[in-house]
C-alpha cells in the first residue's frame, strides 16, 4: 500500500519532561556549554577532536535519560541533503588551486578524484554535522522554551547599557522558535486535510523535483496562516497590555547553583582536552592508522 509516511511524520523534537541532571541545569549554563562545543567543533580541523566531542555528547544524552533512538529519529529525512554535502566535499579539492599536483590521490576516474585530504575533510564535515545535530536535539529536548528565552535575556542584559534591547531580542528568538513548532503542526494539519480528500504526496525516494512540486499547494495556505497567526499573536499580547521589557517582572527567577558551575568546568576541561590531545599525537600516525583500517 502507498503510504505518506515521510509527509505525515514531519516532526520537531521539542522538550521532553524530565528531572535529570541535564534537565535541572540552568539554561544559561546549557547555552554556555553548547556555545563552546560549537566553537570547538568549528575551530578544530581534526577528526579525533570531533570524535571526542561526539563521545562527550553521547555521555550527556545518557545522563539526560533520553533515549538515543529519540535523539537520532530526525536523521532519516536529512539523509539526502547530507549525502549531497558529502559528495560535494568528497569530489571538490580546494588544494587544487594552491597545488596542481596530487600527492595523495586515493581513487581517480575521469574528472572524479578522491584524495586523502578530501576524504578527511568529508569525515570532518560529517562529524561536525553530528556534533551540532546531537547538541541541538539534546538542548531542545532538555530545555523549556521559556527557560531558554529567559537565559538569553539574562545573558544579553549587560548589553542593555550600550543600547541593545535584551528583552525584545530574547522575545524575538522565542517567538521565532515557537513559530517553528506552530508551522510544523499547521503543515501536518493541512497535509491531513488534503490527503483525507484524496491528495497524494508520496513520490519516489529520490524524486526531489516531484516532491517539491507536490509540496507547493501547501506553501500558500501555510504562508497565509503564518500571517494570520502573527496578527492574532500581536492582538493577544496587546490585549494583555504587553509593554516590552521595561519594568517587567517575572514569576520565577533562575539562579546559578553549584551544579551549573561544576558542569561548566567539566565541559571546559573535556573540550580543551579534545583540542589539546591531538597536539601530542603525530598527525601522520593518525593518518597512517586511519588508512590502514581500509
Amino acid at each position: 500500500m502507498k503510504r505518506e509516511s515521510s509527509f505525515l511524520q514531519i516532526s520537531f523534537k521539542g522538550y521532553i519532561h524530565g528531572n535529570s541532571y541535564i534537565h535541572r541545569l540552568d539554561a544559561r549554563a546549557k547555552i554556555f556549554i553548547s556555545t563552546i562545543i560549537i566553537a570547538a567543533s568549528l575551530l578544530t580541523g581534526n577528526p579525533v577532536s570531533l570524535i571526542i566531542l561526539i563521545v562527550f555528547e553521547l555521555a550527556l544524552i545518557s545522563i539526560s535519560g533520553i533515549k538515543y533512538s529519540y535523539i537520532f529519529s530526525p536523521i532519516p529525512p536529512l539523509l539526502p541533503f547530507l549525502f549531497i554535502a558529502v559528495l560535494f566535499r568528497l569530489f571538490t579539492h580546494p588544494q587544487l588551486e594552491a597545488n596542481s599536483t596530487f600527492i595523495d590521490t586515493i581513487w581517480k576516474w575521469k574528472i572524479f578524484i578522491i584524495t586523502e585530504n578530501s576524504l578527511i575533510g568529508t569525515l570532518i564535515l560529517l562529524f561536525r554535522f553530528f556534533v551540532i545535530f546531537i547538541l541541538f536535539t539534546l538542548f531542545s529536548a532538555t530545555t523549556r522554551l521559556e527557560d531558554f528565552t529567559k537565559g538569553i535575556e539574562r545573558i544579553v542584559k549587560p548589553l542593555q547599557k550600550v543600547g541593545i534591547p535584551a528583552h525584545e531580542f530574547s522575545m524575538v528568538i522565542s517567538i521565532a522558535i515557537g513559530f517553528f513548532h506552530i508551522l510544523v503542526n499547521e503543515m501536518n494539519r493541512i497535509i491531513k486535510a488534503q490527503v483525507s480528500r484524496g491528495a497524494e504526496f508520496e513520490t519516489g525516494r529520490f524524486q526531489l523535483v516531484k516532491k517539491v512540486k507536490k509540496l507547493s499547494p501547501l506553501i500558500v495556505p501555510l504562508f497565509s496562516f503564518s500571517l494570520e497567526h502573527s496578527k492574532h499573536l500581536v492582538e493577544a499580547m496587546e490585549s494583555r497590555c504587553y509593554r516590552g521589557g521595561k519594568g517587567r517582572t517575572y514569576f520565577t527567577m533562575t539562579k546559578y547553583s553549584a551544579r551549573d558551575y561544576i558542569s561548566m568546568i567539566i565541559s571546559i576541561v573535556v573540550i580543551s582536552l579534545s583540542i589539546i590531545i591531538v597536539k601530542f599525537v603525530n598527525p601522520e600516525e593518525i593518518k597512517k592508522y586511519f588508512f590502514d583500517l581500509f
Binding site: 503510504r3 533512538s69 488534503q194 490527503v195 483525507s196 484524496g198 491528495a199 497565509s224
Partner: protein, 288 residues
C-alpha cells in the same frame, strides 16, 4: 446488510518507543453495517478521534486490523482508494479548510478523484443549492465565513465525492441551533439514502435521535455497545464516563426518584410524551 467496515483488535500508541509513549486505543473491536448510522461516544481523551483517523488511513494500524468490505486497508494497493470510499469530517472546520474560496474548497476532492471541471462545477452548484445557498456563494472567501458556514462548507467538501461511509468527528459541536439543525438534517438525509455514517458526539440528545447503534469508549477501550436506546439507559455508566444522558432519560430518572411509576420500555422522547399523555386522564380523571 453486511459489514462495511470492521475494526479488529485495534491498538494504537502515540510516540511509540519514547518516554512520552501514550496508549490511545486498547484492543478495540467495532463494526458498521451498510446503511447504518453508528455513534461513538466517550469523554475527551478516550481515543475517539484516534479511532476515526484509522477509518480512512490517516493513521495506520500498529496492531490489529481495519477491514473494508472484508479487505484489510493494508492490502489496498493505493490508500487513495480507501479515502474514496471513506470520507472524514474533522472535528474543527478550521482544521479542514485551506483553500481561499468556498468553491475551490468544495471541489478540492473532486479534482483529486478525477472529476472534469464541468462535472465539478455542476456538483458544487448542486451541493450549494441543497443547503439553500446561491451558486455565487462559491466565490466567498473561506476565512470570512462564520463558524456555522465553515462547518457547512467542510461538510459539503466531504460529501461532494459521495463516499460510501461518512465519518464525522463531533459535527455539531459549538454550533447554534440553526446550523446544528442544518447539519443534522444533512446527516439524516445522507443516511436515509442508504449510506453508512459514523458519528462522534458528546451530545446524547443528538445521538439518541440519529444513531442506530452506539459504542461507548473510555480510556481507549470499548466499555459498552449495542442499540442506542439500550446503551443510553445505562445512566450510571454514562455519568461515570463524563457524559450526560439525553434529557428524556434524565426526566424519567427524576420522576422515578419521586416515586412516580413509569414503564421501562420508553426509548425516546416521543415514547415518553405518548406515555404521559396516556397517563393524564387516569391521574386527573379527565378525557383528552
Amino acid at each position: 446488510m453486511g459489514k462495511f467496515i470492521e475494526v479488529k483488535n485495534l491498538t494504537y500508541f502515540y510516540n511509540r518507543g519514547t518516554i512520552n509513549e501514550v496508549q490511545a486505543l486498547k484492543n478495540v473491536n467495532i463494526y458498521v453495517n451498510r446503511g447504518e448510522t453508528v455513534g461513538i461516544v466517550g469523554p475527551s481523551g478516550s481515543g475517539k478521534s484516534t479511532l476515526l483517523q484509522h477509518f480512512n488511513g490517516l493513521l495506520l494500524q500498529q496492531n490489529g486490523d481495519v477491514l473494508i468490505d472484508g479487505v484489510s486497508i493494508s492490502d489496498y494497493s493505493n490508500i487513495k482508494d480507501v479515502r474514496r470510499r471513506v470520507g472524514l469530517l474533522f472535528q474543527n472546520p478550521e482544521d479542514q479548510i485551506f483553500e481561499r474560496y468556498v468553491g475551490d474548497e468544495i471541489a478540492y476532492a473532486l479534482f483529486n478523484f478525477g472529476y472534469s471541471k464541468e462535472d465539478a462545477r455542476e456538483r458544487v452548484r448542486e451541493l450549494l443549492n441543497k443547503v439553500g445557498y446561491d451558486f455565487e456563494f462559491k466565490n466567498r472567501l473561506t476565512k470570512e465565513l462564520s463558524g456555522g458556514e465553515k462547518r457547512i462548507v467542510s461538510f459539503l467538501s466531504v460529501i461532494a465525492y459521495k463516499p460510501e461511509l461518512l465519518v464525522l468527528d463531533e459535527p455539531t459541536v459549538g454550533l447554534d441551533n440553526f446550523y446544528r439543525q442544518k447539519i443534522l438534517n444533512l446527516i439524516n438525509e445522507w443516511a436515509y439514502n442508504g449510506n453508512s455514517v459514523i458519528m462522534v458526539s458528546h451530545n446524547m440528545n443528538e445521538v439518541s435521535k440519529t444513531c442506530d447503534r452506539i459504542y461507548l469508549l473510555n480510556n481507549g477501550r470499548v466499555v459498552a455497545q449495542g442499540k442506542t436506546e439500550k446503551v443510553l439507559m445505562k445512566t450510571t455508566l454514562l455519568l461515570d464516563s463524563g457524559l450526560t444522558p439525553p434529557d428524556f432519560i434524565m426526566l424519567i430518572s427524576s420522576l422515578k426518584q419521586r416515586g412516580i411509576r413509569i414503564k421501562d420500555d420508553i426509548y425516546s422522547e416521543e415514547d415518553l410524551v405518548n406515555y404521559m399523555v396516556d397517563q393524564i386522564p387516569r391521574v386527573k380523571g379527565i378525557s383528552l
